[in-house]
C-alpha cells in the first residue's frame, strides 16, 4: 500500500502539497513514484516564473516515461530542490521529504478548495488500481 501523509493535501494528478505561510511546497506521491519507476531526471521550473492552477510546471523523467507535473495553485516559483539535479532518485526514496520538487508563493493565500484530503486521495488511488 502506498504511503500517504496526514498533514498534506493532494491533487487528482498525484501531486502532494504542504501549505505554510502562503507558500506551497509540492512533490509527487508515493503512489506516483512507484508507478513511474526509477526517476532519472527532474526538469524543474525556473525561479521567478509564474504559473496558474493546472499549468504544466515541471517534468519528471523515469526510465520508461516522462510525466508532466501540474501546478496545484496560482503563484510564483520561489525555490526548486537542487539536490534532485544530482540525485533524482530522491523522488523515489523520499517522495514526501527530501524528494520535494518546488515551492510556490501563492498569489491567493487561501488554500484551494478543489484539492483532495488524505482519505479522498487514498480512495482515488484504490479506484485507479482496478
Amino acid at each position: 500500500m502506498a504511503e500517504v501523509r496526514n498533514n498534506l493535501k493532494f491533487a487528482a494528478t498525484h501531486e502532494w502539497i504542504e501549505f505554510k505561510d502562503g507558500v506551497a511546497t509540492v512533490g509527487i506521491t508515493d503512489y506516483a513514484q512507484e508507478a513511474l519507476g526509477d526517476v532519472v531526471f527532474v526538469e524543474p521550473p525556473e525561479l521567478g516564473q509564474q504559473f496558474a492552477v493546472g499549468d504544466e510546471i515541471a517534468v519528471i523523467e523515469s526510465v520508461k516515461a516522462a510525466s508532466d507535473i501540474y501546478s496545484p495553485v496560482t503563484g510564483t516559483v520561489i525555490a526548486v530542490n537542487e539536490a534532485l539535479e544530482s540525485d533524482p532518485e530522491l523522488v523515489n526514496s523520499a517522495p514526501y521529504d527530501e524528494g520535494w520538487i518546488f515551492k510556490l508563493e501563492m498569489s491567493d493565500p487561501a488554500t484551494p478548495e478543489n484539492l483532495l484530503s488524505v482519505e479522498q486521495y487514498a480512495e482515488l488511488c484504490e479506484a485507479e488500481e482496478h
Partner: protein, 456 residues
C-alpha cells in the same frame, strides 16, 4: 537479425490461430467512410524478368559525366569492403533492430558510429543519425529554441553562405512553429560572415555557421563562436566530415566550443546515388543532451556485469513522450550508419587526412589552371577547402550546357540560387580526380568558353 517475409501459408496459420478469416478483417473496425479508395493509378506488377528489362533500358539513358559538382554531396572513393559488409542480410534487411535482447551487434555498431562522429567533431555526445544534413539542421534549430531558455524570441540567425537548400528545408519545418530564420549577408569579396555583423543583430536563440561554407570558404570560427556566446545565443555548426580531418573541429571553436553540430554524412562511404539516401549526423554538449532528438545508443552493464549496448534517454522520444517529444523522428539511417562506420574504420585518421589533403590539392591545382584562362578567376578571395567559386566571362548555365555535351559536369550554376551570381560556377574536386580528369576539365572549359562566347 535478417528480415524473412511470411509465406501465404504462414499468414493463414496465424489468422487461423486467432480465428480471423483475412488480413482485411483485422482492420474491419475502421469505418467504411474513412477507408481510402483503392489506388488504381499504379499499373499491375511486372515479372522480375520484364522489370529488369525495363530498368536496364531506363538506366541506359543515364549519362555518367565526369562530375565536378559538390554543393553538399561529394564523390569520394569508397573501399570495396564497405558495401560488401553492409550488403549482409543482418544489415541490409533488418527492420528497426533496437531491441537490446536481439540486436547487440547492431547497437554496438551504432555506438561506435556515435563515438567516431563525436571524436571527429570534438563534441561530447552524438546521436544515432537522422535523415540527412538538411533536416539535421532543422532539428538543431528546434533544439536550440528548446534548450536556450534565456532567450524568449524564437529567432535563429543564419550566415548567408549556408547551403540554400538547407535553409529552404528549415523554413518548411520551423515556420509553423513560429520560428523566424534571419539570414545575414556575407561579405561580397570574401563570401564570409563579417564578425562585426553579429554586434548589430537583435536578441537571437542561435546562430548557424557552415564550415566550410556553401562556397567552400572558411569563416573565422573562433571569433564568431565567442561573439555568439557573448550575445547569449547558441552556436550551431554545419560541417563537412571530411574537412574535419584537417580543420579545427567545432568542439574546439572559441572559448567554449559550438553547442550543436550537424552535417551531412554522405562523404563517409555513401555513393552520390542521385541524391540519396544520405545521413545526417547530430552532436551536442552533454548539458543539453536531453533536448537532442533521435536515437541515442548507450553502453552499460547487464545483471551479470557484462558490457552491453542499449537505447537510452528514450523518454524524450515520441513513442513515449508523444506530442511533447523532442521530435517526431523515431528512427535513424541504420544502413548508412553501418557504411559510414566501416568507411571510417578502414580509412582511420590518416586515411581521412589523406582524402582531405588530396581533395584540397586537386582543387588548388584546378583553380590555378583555370585562372590562366582569360576572364576566369576565383570569385571570392581567401582560403577554401575542396570547393570554390569560379567567375566566368559567360553565363554559367551556358558553360554547363556546352561542357555537358563533352561528358563533363563542371559545377553548379550559382545563379539558380543567388541573384547576381549568374556568371558563377561552384566547382568541387575530390581525391578521385586524376591528372587526366583535370586535363579533360580544362580542355572542355577552354573549348566551351570559346563556343559560348562566339554564340553570345
Amino acid at each position: 537479425m535478417p528480415f524473412i517475409p511470411h509465406t501465404q501459408d504462414d499468414e493463414k496459420t496465424m489468422l487461423d490461430a486467432i480465428g480471423v478469416a483475412s488480413i482485411d478483417e483485422l482492420f474491419d473496425e475502421i469505418p467504411a467512410s474513412i477507408v481510402a479508395d483503392p489506388i488504381d493509378q499504379i499499373p499491375p506488377g511486372e515479372s522480375e524478368m520484364s522489370m529488369l528489362r525495363l530498368m536496364q533500358e531506363r538506366a541506359a539513358r543515364d549519362h555518367m559525366g565526369l562530375c565536378f559538382i559538390g554543393a553538399g554531396a561529394y564523390e569520394h572513393h569508397i573501399p570495396a569492403a564497405v558495401w560488401d559488409i553492409v550488403g549482409r542480410g543482418e544489415f541490409l534487411t533488418a527492420y528497426t533492430p533496437y531491441q537490446a535482447e536481439a540486436s547487440q551487434g547492431t547497437l554496438q555498431l551504432i555506438y561506435e558510429f556515435q563515438t567516431m562522429i563525436s571524436r571527429l567533431t570534438g563534441m561530447e555526445v552524438a546521436n544515432a543519425s537522422v535523415y540527412d544534413g538538411a533536416t539535421a539542421l532543422a532539428e538543431a534549430m528546434l533544439m536550440a529554441v528548446r534548450a536556450n531558455k534565456k532567450i524568449k524570441t524564437k529567432r535563429i540567425v543564419c550566415a548567408g553562405n549556408i547551403n540554400p537548400r538547407y535553409v529552404a528545408t528549415c523554413q518548411t519545418i520551423v515556420r509553423n512553429q513560429g520560428i523566424e530564420i534571419q539570414q545575414l549577408q556575407c561579405d561580397a569579396e570574401s563570401g564570409l560572415l563579417n564578425p562585426d555583423m553579429l554586434e548589430t543583430i537583435d536578441e537571437t536563440v542561435a546562430v548557424v555557421l557552415s564550415y566550410p561554407s556553401f562556397f567552400g570558404g572558411l569563416d573565422e570560427v573562433d571569433r564568431l563562436t565567442d561573439l555568439v556566446h557573448a550575445r547569449g545565443a547558441l552556436m550551431i555548426a554545419v560541417v563537412n566530415p571530411t574537412a574535419l580531418a584537417i580543420l579545427k573541429p567545432p568542439g574546439e571553436w572559441g572559448e567554449n566550443g559550438a553547442d550543436i553540430v550537424v552535417g551531412e554524412g554522405q562523404p563517409l562511404g555513401i555513393p552520390l546515388a542521385s541524391g540519396g539516401p544520405y545521413l545526417g549526423f547530430m552532436c551536442c554538449r552533454q548539458a543539453i543532451v536531453r533536448q537532442m532528438p533521435g536515437r541515442i545508443i548507450g553502453r552499460t552493464v547487464d545483471l551479470q556485469g557484462k558490457t552491453g549496448f542499449t537505447l537510452t534517454l528514450q523518454a524524450r522520444e515520441q513513442h513515449i513522450r508523444r506530442a511533447k517529444a523532442t521530435s517526431n523522428i523515431c528512427t535513424n539511417q541504420g544502413l548508412l550508419v553501418a557504411a559510414a562506420t566501416i568507411y571510417m574504420s578502414i580509412m582511420g585518421n590518416e586515411g581521412l587526412r589523406q582524402v582531405a589533403l588530396a581533395s584540397h590539392a586537386g582543387m588548388a591545382e584546378l583553380l590555378q589552371r583555370a585562372e590562366q584562362l582569360a576572364g576566369v578567376q576565383q570569385h571570392f578571395t581567401g582560403a577554401y577547402f575542396h570547393e570554390c567559386v569560379l567567375e566566368l566571362p559567360v553565363p554559367a548555365a551556358a558553360l554547363i550546357s556546352a561542357m555537358g555535351e563533352q561528358g563533363v559536369l563542371p559545377g553548379l550554376d550559382l545563379g539558380e540560387y543567388f541573384a547576381g551570381m549568374e556568371h558563377c560556377l561552384l566547382v568541387n574536386v575530390t581525391e578521385k580526380k586524376t591528372a587526366a580528369d583535370l586535363d579533360r576539365f580544362m580542355d572542355g572549359l577552354k573549348s566551351s568558353l570559346q563556343t559560348v562566347s562566339q554564340s553570345c
